[in-house]
């Protein structure tokens, strides 16, 4: 499907405000009379609270109030389960221990809030921290996932018999039987490191209670405004209509901003109501690292069973997944991992077990890539190890096992994060891979480039991997499309936007249907008073779900335009022509009625509308897919590495991606490039490090290294390979693309580094590499 706008590289409608500093982000919102909140956070990762004395802090000029857990009385309670447990999976065990808004009795991670200071300014609020006396009994911390799982471990939650947060086993076929028939079985233990979402804008929250109208207005840079509305209204005993959540411009989401029921969104509305003053909190960067959710952090124990020729007979992966101190966000991440281990390969017998474990660390929730990158890493690495063991090339083993287009759709039998049986619905997996090999010039590299470099004393390496990206899961999203009497069109949705170009791509869909100029379509996102149904921004589902709803709603409006115009023009509908911004009788341009005028006619002030006719050129539509749609692709990397310093340089990267039909190729490329930079960062620079006492050692950009412009590949090529089969998934034939780029860089780069040192037989068993750790791997093989 293409149109005047749909499918074209339209420049973004939202840019001008952002470029000129006019867009308002959370810290740009100022409400008269607002006070500032700052959270005193625990220095200890695990401790019993003996006493918190705030009396001195209250005496400080400019301090308005200070609260500890005790001050909230019955209002203090553990938060809701934001994502339910996986009851859909038989035999699954899940121990819910949800985040508390402020520590009471026990501290479970360093950075957990101990006191809330409300003051005239953030400066003064932080000053008051010095006045608060905190007396604790520190406890040994639980940090290591495998040790935490053992029965003898110190407990994060004293009332549980162990640190088991969940145990979920899924099996398709029979792995142990397959293993018996295998010629080769390869087993490895791999680490997947802990990384941060690290949006450039930190989190923020402003609660303003209007006592006269009994309405709570909230500004929050959340990916999930409707969840915030629900939890605030439930907590305060208000009707949902009494809580108005507005998302301002948001400086990036990447996952962690989906989390609700933290300190800010639970306690600040209550405090605002209590003090009858607006309260604003803006997180600082150190807090963001300490106390905003993060992801990855798994330990995989994998086994792959194969026939001599490289055919996979079975795969087993028992993995530990760190959920942090609480598990409010359910099992989205490890379930994503479980569905993505198979990735795009033919695995007839598959056994996978999640061991989700509580530790004294901040909660783990999705970060761009969300469990997918972990699963894909595990599979891709195991293929590499198996290939080496069997003397196959990494290319052969993949070619052999990649699913063919005619094998799709394929029900994998694994239940995913959406509690729906996963389906690999569409795509040309082998084709993606072959295209990638061509673009990266694999054969030439192996035959010419690499040997030539070797002669010159340079080390080059190549890595090529395949991946899938589960996207566009349910339950549903919706929107309302309205033609106003000015002729301008408005679309409202409960979805919220963090930079993904929603204001442009939804407008493109609608503008084509209604034949209006794209800049005449105003998209309003994330304001609960405008549209109050939906789940939130996650899992690369905006374009597919909201986009399809926009198509359906605008098709309904289009039908209304024709029926209203038919009456107004006095001709049958098939004689009505929809021109740009007006309707007329076919062949009679003089008869044109502007859309705005038609909108006014659809809302008559006198007379009677016919039964069954709804007023206005307006319609609402919802869309929920039967199952998610799986994006897919392949990535190739060529890198050079200085043998002496072990510093890699990314010479070239190619990504082949199938995200179905593109609404706007400019935006798709932007999403892929951004994702790739995150994948590069996750592999070569970024890493959250907790020490054995649960102290986060990387709470600043001095130590948490974000990928920079000079860290990007010298050449980055994007190839779109949109399979025909993608087109049948939904009316627009769309799949998500937000996370694709972040998934394959890890296994591709690691494979390339191994390849560069192929003569030394280096084997890399983790996702996050520094030159120092690469050096460590080299030393290890030298000492063998």
């Amino acid at each position: 499907m293409t149109g005047k706008y749909f499918g074209n590289p339209i420049k973004r409608l939202e840019d001008k405000q952002l470029l000129t500093g006019n867009a308002k982000y959370i810290d740009d919102i100022e409400v008269p009379g607002q006070l500032h909140a700052a959270f005193l956070r625990s220095d200890f990762a695990h401790a019993r609270i003996l006493k918190i004395d705030v009396s001195e802090a209250l005496k400080r000029p400019g301090v308005v109030a200070v609260y500890t857990a005790e001050d909230f009385g019955d209002f203090w309670k553990p938060g809701p389960l934001q994502v339910p447990p996986p009851t859909a999976i038989p035999g699954s065990k899940f121990n819910a221990r949800t985040l508390v808004p402020i520590a009471k009795d026990k501290i479970r991670y360093s950075g957990e809030v101990l006191a809330v200071v409300i003051a005239e300014s953030r400066y003064i609020a932080e000053d008051a921290f010095d006045d608060i006396i905190v007396d604790v009994e520190s406890l040994p911390a639980v940090v290591d996932l495998e040790k935490a799982w053992e029965d003898s471990s110190v407990l994060v939650h004293d009332d549980l018999p162990s640190n088991m947060a969940a145990l979920v086993t899924q099996e398709v076929g029979n792995y142990e039987e397959a293993k018996k028939k295998a010629d080769v079985v390869v087993a490895r233990r791999m680490l997947i490191e802990h990384v941060a979402g690290a949006a450039m804008e930190n989190r923020g929250f402003l609660a303003s209670w209007d006592d006269q109208n009994q309405v709570m207005t909230i500004w929050a840079n959340t990916q999930s405004p409707l969840t915030v509305r629900g939890s605030v209204s439930r907590a305060l005993g208000l009707a949902e209509s009494q809580v108005h959540v507005i998302t301002p411009a948001i400086g990036g989401g990447f996952g962690p901003k989906v989390m609700t029921s933290l300190t800010d969104d639970v306690l600040l509305p209550w405090i605002s109501k209590q003090l009858k003053r607006p309260i604003k909190w803006v997180e600082d960067r150190r807090e963001n690292f300490l106390a905003t959710t993060s992801e990855r952090d798994q330990v995989h124990h994998c086994e792959i069973a194969l026939k001599k020729d490289g055919t996979i007979l079975g795969f087993k992966d028992v993995f530990y997944h760190n959920t942090g101190a609480y598990d409010s966000y359910g099992m989205t991440v490890p379930l994503n991992t479980q569905t993505h281990i198979i990735s795009n390969y033919r695995v007839p017998n598959f056994y996978t077990q999640i061991r989700m474990v509580f530790t004294n660390q901040m909660v783990v929730t999705p970060v761009r890539g969300a469990g997918r990158s972990e699963g894909v890493f595990a599979m891709e690495r195991m293929l590499d190890f198996a290939a080496k063991e069997m003397g196959l090339s990494p290319i052969e083993i993949r070619r052999k096992n990649l699913l063919r287009a005619d094998e799709l759709p394929l029900a994998t039998g694994i239940t995913g994060q959406d509690f729906v049986k996963n389906t690999l619905d569409s795509g040309d997996y082998l084709g993606n891979f072959e295209k990638c090999l061509q673009a990266i010039e694999y054969d030439k590299f192996i035959k010419e480039t690499q040997p030539k470099a070797q002669k010159e004393g340079k080390r080059l390496g190549i890595g090529v991997v395949a991946f899938t990206e589960g996207t566009a899961v349910g339950p549903y999203e919706g929107c309302k499309v309205t033609v106003s009497t000015s002729g301008k069109v408005t679309m409202t949705t409960g979805y919220s936007s963090q930079g993904q170009a929603h204001y442009t791509v939804f407008a493109q869909i609608i503008a084509d249907q209604l034949n209006v100029k794209v800049e005449d379509v105003k998209v309003i996102t994330g304001d609960t008073n405008h549209f109050a149904w939906g789940a939130g921004t996650f899992a690369s589902r905006g374009a597919t779900l909201v986009g399809t709803a926009a198509l359906l709603a605008s098709q309904k409006v289009r039908a209304k335009i024709f029926s209203t115009a038919s009456k107004a023009l006095g001709v049958p509908e098939d004689q009505v022509e929809l021109g740009e911004g007006s309707v007329s009788i076919k062949g009679k341009p003089d008869s044109a009625i502007p859309l705005g005028t038609l909108a006014a006619m659809a809302n008559p002030m006198r007379g009677v509308i016919e039964p069954g006719v709804e007023p206005g050129l307006e319609a609402t539509a919802y869309y929920g897919p039967p199952h998610g749609s799986t994006g897919c692709g392949a990535m190739g990397v060529i890198l050079s590495i200085d043998e002496e310093t072990c510093k890699p340089v990314l010479e070239k990267m190619v990504i082949v991606d199938d995200c179905g039909t593109m609404i706007n190729p400019l935006i798709v490329d932007g999403q892929l490039q951004g994702g790739i930079s995150m994948g590069i960062g996750n592999t070569l620079y970024e890493r959250l490090v907790y020490d054995e006492n649960g102290q986060l050692l990387t709470a600043s950009f001095m130590d948490y290294l974000m990928p920079l412009a000079t860290d990007m590949p010298k050449k980055l090529e994007i190839i779109h390979n949109h399979a025909e089969s993608s087109l049948k998934l939904n009316p627009l034939g769309i799949k998500g693309v937000g996370e694709a780029g972040a998934i394959p860089p890890g296994p591709a780069i690691v494979q390339a580094i191994e390849d560069a040192f192929a003569d030394k037989g280096v084997e890399i068993l983790e996702t996050n590499l520094s030159p120092s750790s690469i050096y460590g791997y080299l030393k290890k093989v030298e000492h063998k």
Binding site: E126, T645, C646, L708, T710, P771, S772
Partner: protein, 294 residues
């Protein structure tokens, strides 16, 4: 992340600044470019009770050629000014080479030459460079003035001999003898990031290609920058052969440094790359010396 409050003084002359520092004693802290200090204050790791801001002291910002062919650099001269100064480019290209590695352009435009040296960060480039160039530091107090050679200025991590009531006023660099070459090399994880190891060498050859003099500093591999004795022992009076340079690298990286393991690099790795960097730095420095410093 907001700093604690402090008292603030913005003198407009050196004398006024010294009076203020004398009055404040231990409570006073000099604010130069502030690119390290203000970051530490924002984290509330630094909580000085009074700052004496030298940014309005125009007389501390200059680059003056000295009669002997060297340079005198006022403490408040911005790093980017040094980086782009024609006299510096002509006389001490090493400084220009190093400057490009110091954080990012925005920091270099505000950060000062003297401030960075007085900060004595073991991972900072300029303290090490001040040592390897044997810069002479002019330290002023109220009614006092003393000259200290940079190697004696820095006594520990973030520690110098500058007293709280004193300040670093000027750094003087002597000209290099003819046939002197210099080279700075570092390994850091990213551009502008802290080095895991860095080496700067300044070498002088005589007309027979014999090493007349060598100064080499090893940075980020001990709690203070290390001026290599081994380099002098092995190279001076000898031809700087590949073997001789290898011998320096081996000796210095095994016996002169004490690297720590941290989040970004193991001690082993640091030792290994220091060895590599010594070879690279010395080799290129000697090449440059042969070409008359270019």
């Amino acid at each position: 992340m907001k700093p604690v409050n402090f008292d603030y003084y913005a003198p407009s002359s050196v004398d006024e600044a010294l009076d203020t520092l004398a009055e404040l004693g231990y409570d006073g802290k000099v604010l130069a470019g502030g690119q390290s200090l203000i970051a530490a204050m924002n984290f509330r790791m630094a909580r000085p009770s009074a700052l004496v801001d030298l940014n309005n002291v125009a007389e501390l910002s200059y680059i003056k050629p000295t009669a002997d062919g060297g340079l005198a650099i006022g403490t408040m001269t911005r790093v980017s000014t040094v980086e782009h100064n024609q006299d510096v480019i002509q006389r001490f290209p090493l400084l220009v080479e190093v400057a490009k590695f110091i954080a990012h352009p925005q920091i270099r435009r505000r950060g000062t030459f003297g401030g960075a040296i007085a900060h004595a960060d073991p991972a900072g480039q300029l303290p090490s460079i001040s040592m390897v160039m044997n810069m002479q530091a002019l330290i002023k107090g109220k009614g006092t003035e003393r000259w200290v050679a940079a190697p004696d200025l820095i006594i520990g991590p973030f520690m110098t001999v500058i007293e709280p009531n004193e300040m670093l006023a000027e750094l003087v660099i002597k000209p290099h003898p003819p046939r002197t070459g210099a080279k700075y090399v570092q390994v850091s994880r990213q551009s502008g990031g802290y080095a895991q190891s860095a080496v700067a060498s300044i070498v002088t050859l005589d007309e027979n290609e014999i090493c007349k003099d060598v100064h080499m500093v090893l940075m980020s591999v001990a709690e203070v920058p290390i001026l290599s004795e081994k380099a002098r022992e092995i190279l001076i009076g000898n031809k700087p052969s590949k073997d001789a340079i290898e011998a320096v690298a081996e000796a210095a990286s095994t016996s002169e440094i004490d690297p720590a393991s941290d989040l970004h690099a193991s001690a082993d790795y640091r030792r290994s790359i220091t060895r590599v960097l010594i070879v690279r730095s010395l080799t290129e420095a000697f090449e440059r010396a042969k070409r008359g410093g270019k």
